[in-house]
Structure formats: C-alpha cells, structure tokens
Amino acid sequence: MIKKKAMLIDITLCVGCNACQVVCKEENGLMEGEEQRLSATAYTALNEYDGTYVRRMCQHCDDPTCVSVCPVGAFTKTAAGPVLYDENKCIGCRYCMQACPFQVPRYEWDSTYPRVQKCKFCAGRLERGLQPACAEACPTGATKFGDRDELIKEAYERLQAEPEKYVQKIYGLEEVGGTSILYISSVPFEQLGFKTTMSKVALPTLTWNALSKIPSVVAVGGVFLYGVWWITNRRTEVQQLERKLKEMEEGSNGQGTLN
C-alpha cells in the first residue's frame, strides 16, 4: 500500500524568496511573473504578514470537500495524497469553489472554455518517485516533503524542541478531518490569515447526513402519498356507490307504487 504523502511547511524557516512559485509555474507551464495571491496562473503564492511569509496552496484534504461536492466527479483523491481535477469532466458549476473551506480553487474567468485551477501536488513527479517541485526548490527547508506520519512526528519534535518559539499546534492535522499540507508557526495562526475555528469533522459528512436520508424519504413518502390517495379515492368511490344505491332504491320504490 502506498504511504500517504504530505508536506510540512515551517513558517519560521520561510524567507520569502518565492522560489516555490517560480518552479511551480515552470513545472505546470503557467504564465510567468510574481503573484501575491492564488490565481488561475499561480497554484501557490506567498502572503506576507509583518515580515512573516505564509505559503498558500491547495491543502489536499484527506476527505476533500471538492471531491464530494462535484456533481460529475471531476475531482479525485489519490491514495498518495494529491487531489486531482479532470477538466474533461468539469461542467463549470463552480460548486468546488463555493464549498472549499480554504478557498483554493481558482477559475479561468476570461476563457470561454474555462478550467478550475489549483495545485496538483505534482502528482506526476510523485509517481516517478520525485518530490514536488516546490519542496525540491525550497532553499531553507521551509517546505519539506515526506510521508505524512513521519512529518507529523517531525513537526511534534520541532514543537517540543523549541516550545517557547513555536505555537503548540500543527495546522492541518485535524482541520476538516486532516489535510496533506501541514503548517507550524511561531506566530498565532489566526494572525496569519488561517481560519482556526474550522470544523474538525470532514465537511462531506454534513451533506452526507442529508443525502443518506433520501432512500427513507422516497420509501416513506411514496407509501404515504399512495396511502392518502387510496383513502381519499376510496372515499369518493364509496360516496358515488352510495348515491347510486340511493337512486336505485328510489327507483325501485317508484316501481313499487306502480304495482
């Protein structure tokens, strides 16, 4: 079985050199040029908060919201970790963008045949036994690639080794059920644009709670509707029959008087 991969991003080590974005654009054949925000041509981008740099990118959730919401199954979660998008299936409803808790998927708004764009975790390179381009390019080790279990262990070690430096939290460990991208930081996460009040439960469970009731709604509803129809219809039938009987009775009475 393939071990689940992950990337550990140590925010304290990032110097903001932007090498990750440069190689990412190269690797994915995206338009060159520095971008400060995620876009259809930037799968990763550095946000600066008072000299602290935070890498944004797809979190590659364990139970991804985008995979669950897509009506045509254009997103898949691979065993190794990458969440991939199939543009040939996509109908362009943008539910993935609306639903993603990290607001990651971007759209090619200016195209007449637009695609959703986001980080692919260099799935092709992973298959060839390589690490993602950004992790390879990172000069300080701020982005480190590896097995998820190992990286979580390493993150805890770093937090324990310097408890006064690090915020004692691994972001991505539990958020929406866990993600493949893990962050550790010396600045509280909420000050770096992270949503820290996020549900610990994978979001697809919320919609599944409703969807899983469909068979019962159909069964109970169908029987109920048919039953109501049967009763009301029977009532009308009986009424008609009674009227007929009455008429017949009156008719025979009439005959009786004739005799």
Binding site: C70, I91, G92, P105, Y107, P204, L206, N209, A210, V228
Partner: protein
C-alpha cells in the same frame, strides 16, 4: 384608442429594451466568457444567476407539485380549476431554470455529463437528477393540455391513466430537490453567515417552497385574471392563502427554535448590514404576510390577498438571495453586486417567462373552468402583456 396604442408602444419598448440588452449580454457571455459579462470572482464564484435564476427559480415553481398533490393525492377536487395554470407555471419555470443554468455553467455544453458521470456523494448531483426527472414529469403532466388542444384523444386518455403515479413521482422528486437546494449549503458551515447557516437548511427550503408555491399561484392567478379578463376563484385562492399562513407559521417557529438551539440569537441584534437584511426578509416576507393572511377579512379581500401573497414571494426571494449572496460576503471579505449584463439576462428570462405564459394561455386550454368575466380593475401592464403575446 389612441391612448391604448400609446401604452402598448410603451410596454413594447420596455420588453424590447430588456430583450435587446439581454441579447447583447448573451453575446458577451458566450463570446467573451463569464469574466467579461459578470461580476463574479474567485472570492465570489456564485452570484445572481445561481442565486436567482436557479435556486430562487426552482422554489418559485413549487406551486406545480403543491397543487397537483392537493388535487390528485389529497383529492381536494375543488382546486381543479387552478391545476393547469400551476402546472404551466412550474413547467415554464423549470425550463427557464435550465436556460439560466446554461448561462451560468462555465462549460454549458457539458451539462449532460451528470447523466453518465456519477457522484452520489454530491448534493448537486442529486439536484441535477431530480431537476432532470421532474422536468420530464412536468412535461408529461403538461402534455394532456396539448393533446386536448390537438384532439389527440388516444394519447390524452393514455397519459390520463398514469396521472396518479406521475403526480406521486413528481411530489417525491420535488420534495427531494427543493430540500436539497438547502442541503447544497450544509457544506459551508464556516463560510455562510450564522443567521442563515443551519443544519435545518433542507427543511427550511422545503417548507418555504411549499409556502411560496401557494403564494405564487395566487399572484399568478391575479395577474392572468387581469390580463385575460377572466374571473378569479377568490374562494379557492383565499384557501390557498390559508395554507400559506400555516406553512409560514411552521417556518417561523422552526426558525426561532433553530436560532435558540444554535445560540445565535445575539446575531439578531448585531449592528451589521446582514442583520438588517435578515430582519427585512423575516418581517416583510414572513411576519407581515402571516398577520395579513391569517385574518379572514383580509384574506378574502381582493387587494388584501394579493398583497399578502406578493409579500410572501418578495420575502422568499430575499431569503434565497441572502442565503446565496449576502451570507457569504463577510467570509469572502468582499461584496458582490451583479453586473448590468447579469441583471439584463435575468430580466430577459423573467420577461420571456411572462410572454411564454401569455402565449400558452392564449393558444392552449389552460383556463378550462371559465367563470363569467368579472370586471376586475384591468391592469395596463398585464393587458399589454396579452397584446405583446399576440405580436408575431
């Protein structure tokens, strides 16, 4: 006479302007893309077309299954005179929802993908299937009207024989997707403002759809009675008003229970513009019409019933727009207001619906239970609408 022609020209000009701007917007949408025609962005991927044309539109067409269930399942035969207009409204409504969807989808020609590419975990997948099937059911429910007009007696009898199963399937499908449009938003607990996010969203959407379904039938009966100088089944319509009151009452109670359960009452008094819009939606769209329609005197009064039903519709639209747009602005950190092209496409779709309804009413036996034309205060707009429909 002169005056009349002048007015016809005015409404023709209005309709013409709407369709012309809609046509231009259509050109920009399909030639230059969504970016050029809409104010949508990565932060705000869903706007007016999803919020109004699709999600509100499906709700406004809920009168079809509501009235069909009342007449055929609950055997309330007295409502029979309004079955056909309700089915027509629903059928047109769903067709227009699909038209709206074609504008909004980034790759509209892939719309059929949901038929063969399945994802049963997706609420949207379920909605897509239900809408597809229910539109088919509506077409079948509508077909006897056409068969009657064309005197295809065999086809008419054949379809009439399966009325009951059709209606049952239609009610089930409607129950599923009307509520599922609420379930669509279950997946955004952190993004959607707590005034609108609730685990009860599916239930809220379903109950309010039934309420607005009744209200829409009332509004549409008023408009068509004015346009076609036909009588108004005031008695039936005020009974529908009563049903609407019950639905609004259940809705309001559940809304309060929900706020209490989620400890979200404090949001009702936060000094924010979301709060204002929430109160507007609840007061104008739920509390006021409930108070109006609950009173027999108002409910059985021509203007009172219309005003009450109209407010229910307005409140429903506000609720859906708030849930789909207002509720996301805080999280997105940006505001959204539709571009004029988005608005003109939406207006064109609505106007097209009016014209199509008028045409259908003109050429098909929609109002079969003609009462003597009562002299209702003829509204110029709807009268002209009829004339517009007669344009070649």
């Amino acid at each position: 006479m002169n005056k009349l022609i002048g007015k016809i020209t005015f409404w023709k000009v209005v309709a013409g302007l709407i369709f012309a701007s809609g046509l231009y917007a259509t050109y920009v949408r399909f030639v230059d893309g969504l970016g050029a025609s809409t104010n949508l962005s990565d932060e705000f991927p869903w706007g007016l077309w999803v919020g109004f044309d699709v999600i509100t539109g499906v709700g406004l067409a809920a009168g079809g299954f509501t009235i069909a269930a009342m007449v055929y399942i609950f055997n309330l035969k007295r409502f029979e005179p309004i079955v056909r207009p309700a089915i027509l409204t629903a059928f047109l409504g769903y067709l227009l929802v699909i038209v709206g969807l074609m504008y909004d989808l980034g790759r509209p020609l892939h719309i059929w993908h949901a038929i063969i590419m399945w994802n049963p975990r997706s609420v949207m997948f379920e909605v897509a299937w239900c809408v597809m099937l229910y539109t088919t059911v509506l077409a079948l429910e509508f077909s006897p009207i056409v068969f009657e007009r064309l005197q295809f007696n065999k086809a008419y009898k054949a379809i009439k024989r399966v009325t009951i199963p059709l209606v049952i399937v239609g009610v089930l499908l409607s129950t599923l997707h009307q509520s599922s449009l609420g379930s669509v938003y279950l997946i955004v607990p952190d993004k959607l403002h707590p005034l609108w996010y609730s685990p009860y969203l599916p239930l809220f959407f379903y109950i309010s759809a039934i309420g607005v379904g009744c209200a829409m039938v009332i509004v549409e009966s008023f408009l068509s009675s004015r346009a076609f100088h036909r009588g108004l089944e005031m008695n039936l319509l005020s009974q529908l008003g009563k049903i609407s009151v019950v639905m609004l009452g259940v809705y309001l109670t559940l809304k309060v229970v929900d706020l209490l359960e989620r400890n979200a009452v404090s949001h009702l008094f936060a000094f924010r513009y979301e709060t204002g819009l929430y109160w507007l939606e609840m007061v104008i769209g739920v509390i006021v019409p409930m108070l109006l329609l609950a009173r027999k005197k108002i409910r059985e009064n021509y203007n009172g019933l219309f005003a009450g039903a109209f407010l229910v519709v307005v409140g429903f639209v506000l609720n859906r727009m708030n849930t789909t747009i207002t509720g996301f602005e805080e999280w997105a950190g940006t505001t959204y207001f539709p571009s004029w092209m988005e608005i003109s496409v939406t207006l064109s779709i609505v106007a097209f619906g009016f014209v199509a309804f008028a045409l259908a009413a003109q050429y098909l036996p929609i109002f079969t239970h003609e009462e003597h034309a009562v002299s209702s205060p003829a509204d110029e707009f709807t009268k002209d609408l009829k004339l517009v429909s007669q344009m070649p």
